[in-house]
Symmetry: C2
Subunit: 339 residues, 2 copies
DNA sequence: CTGAAAGCGCTTACAG
DNA sequence: CTGAAAGCGCTTACAG
């Protein structure tokens, strides 16, 4: 009873050709001019027996695994785990399974992951790439594997990309703060050369410049743990008296920064206004609630999957490069003064 | 150049038997008494060419895919996404890939997922099961597929389980609150029959009973959205004046509840003490910081993977059932009074 | 150590 | 519509 049924068994049992069964199971009955009667009969039998095609065998002969890889910086991050959830629904609806993995922004680890996954014959890749893996990603592309980068891109890799208009996010946030008459606005960001971080910094700088203010940037070392970031944030705040607003370039920097603001005995938004990049469940719960530049997670996942699927199903030619830039949403809450 | 090398090509190129190459690649050179010289030669060639075994073909003939399924309630939940991250490291180190999916606690969806994954010949399953899928999980087990349940279990399914000592978590939390002389302690939990929720409730009830207090339980409907939960929490709090402590049975209930406490104009811990089940990054950041009954994520993932791997590698017989109960850690922070 | 061979369970031209 | 057959790229007894 443990023995799995195969397409062969079915063919024998029903006295039809193996190929006929295969055609019917793949919905090619009409195309192959197989009688409705026979089609019915086979389908019914398969139903009753609870027969499932062996996907391994199918994959081996078709070359398609119907699996995609979701390679993010860290699957436990709020942003990535939510993208994963939305992506899952879309993938499964279209018959795809998702294998996830975390690069931890380490090029060497990322290279190994790509190698491992290639051996598995994954059909397509969604990747938040660290710098330094350009050759490996280009190799995927030149082997005709669809690759969609997201959240950050690599300038020298000509492939699909889905990401936020990061520049607009910080630009608008800075202008909003200026409208609430903030004069000394800092950006807390990462000491990182990732494209999305550079865009966020550029947006901030341009807004500051436009209004003839002085930029003030605190770069948090990428490898910091939370406690260190909090300590350094407290130090920065005390080194810059009169600081009246902070834009945080990521939500976890915001969480540490808010702790630092509290510990410095400052009030939000009375002493200091705050806007965080990337919304987070708790920003709404916090007291005061925290303003945020939100990335529309659902929309982003949709665009990501659509872009990949178009390639997987050959609706778009592999060589055609699609860039989707999603508009951020500035959500004002209690941590910023009213305009 | 795009054509992938196969084991056949290598055999021809090097003028050796295909089987020899296969043996060498699978580390059976010694066992098969193949000369070191030949082994070297093949390995070197493979290195140079960057040859990768086609895993699909290998899987088809061995019946093993070296893939495991992580089926959780919702991959974007803090707890599950962190388990996913820890599990990933362990899995990859051992040559396994992980396919994730979310049951959303829906038995019908879960059944479909199991069917889909079975067709993919996944080697093993880690599942947080909703009630109602007992037959499907039992079917996996009787087909000799390793299944480890976690976070919650199904009493009628005799298989491995890794979970927290939920009872002890709430029991200790309630006793701690009683020590801080709280008299009117409520439990906010879900209207859910999941085992872990029942254990948490039992722990609370027993501690309350032991100290001759009156239990006070608020069951939040499972299908609530956040805003509804907040509103209902505010209502509950106002319906119960003198409430001086709340234990939240999940971290997201705590987040809503804390919002409700704020909006009710109450102070933590002055008016009301709070302890949340499941720690969360932001509990440490919040002002005041929030006490929590922490699940050791790293330890839990380790035990989960070890339990599964023991079965996958036949270190433990399939029929032997392992139950691992992990001790919670009560982390006291600013939201509870000092003892 | 080698080689030929069967088998894993599918798909897909091809001839009828 | 059917059937025989090759092929996908491996693994693994088996005989030498």
């Amino acid at each position: 009873m443990n023995k799995k049924l195969s397409i062969n068994d079915i063919a024998k049992e029903l006295n039809v050709a193996k190929s006929t069964v295969s055609f019917i199971l793949n919905g090619k009955a009409k195309e192959k001019r197989i009688s409705d009667e026979l089609t019915e009969k086979v389908l019914k039998f398969v139903q009753e027996k609870g027969f499932q095609l062996n996907y391994l065998a199918k994959s081996l002969s078709t070359g398609k695994t119907k699996m995609i890889c979701l390679m993010v910086e860290k699957i436990s991050d709020y942003f990535f785990s939510h993208i994963a959830f939305h992506l899952e629904a879309l993938a499964y609806k279209n018959g795809y399974k998702i294998i996830y993995c975390s690069t931890e922004n380490d090029p060497e680890k990322t290279r190994q992951l790509i190698t491992l996954l290639r051996a598995r014959h994954i059909d397509g890749y969604i990747i938040t790439p660290p710098k330094g893996v350009e050759p490996e990603i280009n190799a995927l592309i030149s082997d005709n594997l669809p690759v969609v980068l997201f959240d950050r891109y690599l300038p020298t890799v000509p492939t699909d990309y889905v990401g936020l208009d990061n520049y607009k996010g910080t630009f608008d946030a800075a202008e909003l703060l200026i409208k609430t008459s903030a004069k000394k606005i800092a950006l807390f960001t990462l000491s990182s050369v990732q494209s999305q971080m550079e865009e966020r910094q550029a947006g901030y700088l341009d807004a500051i410049k436009k209004h003839n203010l002085k930029p003030l940037i605190f770069k948090v070392p990428f490898e910091n743990d939370t406690d260190t970031t909090i300590k350094q944030s407290i130090q920065f705040i005390s080194d810059h008296p009169g600081l009246d607003a902070i834009i945080f370039a990521t939500n976890y920097l915001a969480l540490s920064g808010i702790k630092a603001i509290n510990e410095s005995g400052l009030n939000m938004p009375g002493d200091i206004s705050v806007i965080a990049f990337d919304d987070h469940d708790v920003f709404n719960i916090y007291n005061p609630s925290i303003s945020a530049i939100a990335q529309p997670l659902d929309e982003m996942a949709k665009q990501l999957f659509k872009t990949l699927l178009d390639k997987l199903e050959n609706k778009v030619r592999l060589k055609d490069v699609t860039k989707v830039i999603i508009q951020p949403e500035l959500i004002l809450r209690g941590s910023t003064k009213q305009v």
